[in-house]
Symmetry: C2
Subunit: 353 residues, 2 copies
């Protein structure tokens, strides 16, 4: 735990590094225990899946949405908690499987949204780092992330554990050929180890960000939620605006705010989205953007920095891609004199209603 | 239509102003003709609704999501087209009603996503301004927006017509007590008419944006998609980053990039979300943000400008709230010497795959 005299960012960096051990433990244990949940889900035979989450956990839920759509063909909804908490919506009994994702399991709006769905007949699963939290108590099934207490306000290791747990859950629920998992823990250890690539990218990004005042994070497909999480992590710790989009959504308008010198991080898994990302990188380079490419794809022409990630199945690659973004956020924040362990105005447990 | 010699922004401003007539025509005609669609949907008895859209149309779809969740208790999914187009996902037959929203009805990814759902048994509705477009030809039912050709790249009148059409469709599908519609056309005419409030807000916003380099747009509940659309409109025409969040999501992290002098537009409908928005406005004022409040709520303490909107049912208020944001985007762009009719790098029809 943080000592009062520890340098700024010590806690966050320690928690980022713990992810290597957590991923190795996960691989060694054969994943989270979710088979009994998958059996119950199979009996329930859901017509759709509803995800309930906010902030970082909502980005993990976004990854689960891609997995469930791609591997299982499910219709997947991201719940708007305010429909229930503010407007009094009454969900219909429509056999929707409800998965709530929350590090703390505390926020009142998530509790009420899940409660309303369970009253309408939903089967409810909580994915949380606190199996005694109200959200877990209320659920039919709980996946305990077992990430250990997370002290830094900016979540890192609980995000990775959420991704791993949701990979296990989605794979078990979809009952399809599982994506190749064997390389995940090694890839995570590899990207956490010190690299000159990360140093170079952090310097370039810091300099471009100081000039431009904002950045963009772009990906496509299953890595898009990682772009959103990377942007959130940078906003939380650095306090500067970070826009994030899928490459397709970027072209439907927001590319208008990319100019000469704008820093843009592009996450490229070298998977089915590679063509779409190559196209958007070429457009960004034409606009004079300072493109930093993260992922297992070959470095594209005109980019300014490249942080390689070991090649993985494109459906699990996002788990390793998240970590360079965490490290960049930590580097940028400490270089600017901020304490990413305790960003001003944020608290570890956010209670919204 | 635009003359080559017309001043920058003439086309967009003309299309913004056309919305008064379009809304009056809509009210006079008793809305879009959707009863036959609602009957077919009732026979189909959907277990969920899937919305397919991008860009501005995706923000209109976001409004429909709130309506269908609140009025009908539906599980509503926003489709990820790449699941189908890049990963080859096969949607399951799960009785999901598919509603695709697209001004042009042209983008290949929307076509393929709807096609895959219809092959799996979905009933497909296209909401488009071109009833001869491929998306409309493919659908089981079409709602023709009949907004007239839209020339400005930044969509305005087609967005409002999408909102009106989706209000009609959602009300008919949900079969519940319809929200009060009588005041909508009058409120739209009222916010389009010249006002000193808008002039003041545009001046303040222009000045704060020049200093801060970015802005935020915040709302909660059914007006949240209007915050997203307002931010997109400003990005498209002004070329500066505009972040947008629900008040709850803002507190889960991004509020860290609000500082003294940051311009924040808050859309407040004086409805069920008013308490949540009053709380967030107080936090923003404490942080020294330059808050511009838009909507029918009373001006909150500490805000710097207020653009009132006539009081409407909170479920239809978003339709009128969109227009002051369009006018602000147009004002900011022309004041900065940009041509909002033709933003660099954007085209009227965006084709993504």
């Amino acid at each position: 735990m943080s000592q009062p005299s520890a340098p700024a960012g010590t806690v966050m960096l320690d928690e980022i590094r713990q992810q290597a051990r957590l991923a190795a433990d996960w691989a060694g244990a054969g994943g989270y225990r979710v088979d009994h949940i998958a059996h119950a889900v199979a009996s329930y035979a859901p017509a759709s899946v509803t995800l309930i989450a906010r902030g970082t956990s909502d980005n993990a839920a976004g990854y689960a949405k891609y997995l469930l759509e791609i591997m299982g063909g499910y219709v997947v909804s991201s719940a708007s908690p305010s429909a229930v908490t503010l407007y009094g919506a009454k969900p219909r009994q429509a056999r929707s499987l409800c998965i709530a994702v929350s590090q703390s399991g505390q926020s009142p709006d998530l509790l009420r949204a899940m409660s309303a769905m369970r009253e309408a007949g939903s089967l409810g699963i909580a994915v949380t780092n606190d199996p005694a939290a109200p959200l877990a108590v209320q659920a039919d099934f709980v996946v305990d992330l077992a990430a250990g207490v997370e002290h830094a306000v900016a979540a890192t290791k609980t995000f990775t554990c959420e991704l791993l747990a949701l990979l296990d859950l989605a794979t078990a629920i979809c009952g399809t050929q599982a994506p190749e998992r064997a390389g995940i823990a090694g890839a995570i250890a590899s990207v956490i180890a010190p690299h000159a690539d990360l140093d170079d990218a952090a310097r370039l990004l810091g300099s471009a960000l100081a000039s431009a005042g904002h950045l963009l994070v772009v990906s496509r497909g299953a890595s898009t939620p990682i772009a959103h999480e990377g942007a959130l992590k940078i906003m939380e710790t650095v306090g500067l605006p970070a826009l994030s989009y899928s490459a397709a959504d970027l072209e439907h308008g927001p590319i208008a705010c990319v100019h000469a010198g704008t820093p843009v991080i592009v996450i490229d898994s070298a998977g089915p989205a590679a063509g779409s990302l190559a196209h958007v990188i070429a457009r960004l380079v034409d606009l004079g953007a300072e493109v930093i490419q993260v992922g297992s794809g070959d470095a594209a022409p005109g980019i300014r920095a490249h942080i390689p990630v070991p090649r993985l199945d494109p459906l699990v690659a996002p788990i390793a891609e998240a970590i360079p973004l965490q490290l960049l956020a930590h580097r940028l924040a400490t270089a600017m004199g901020h304490d990413p362990d305790q960003p001003p105005g944020l608290t570890k447990v956010t209670r919204t209603s």
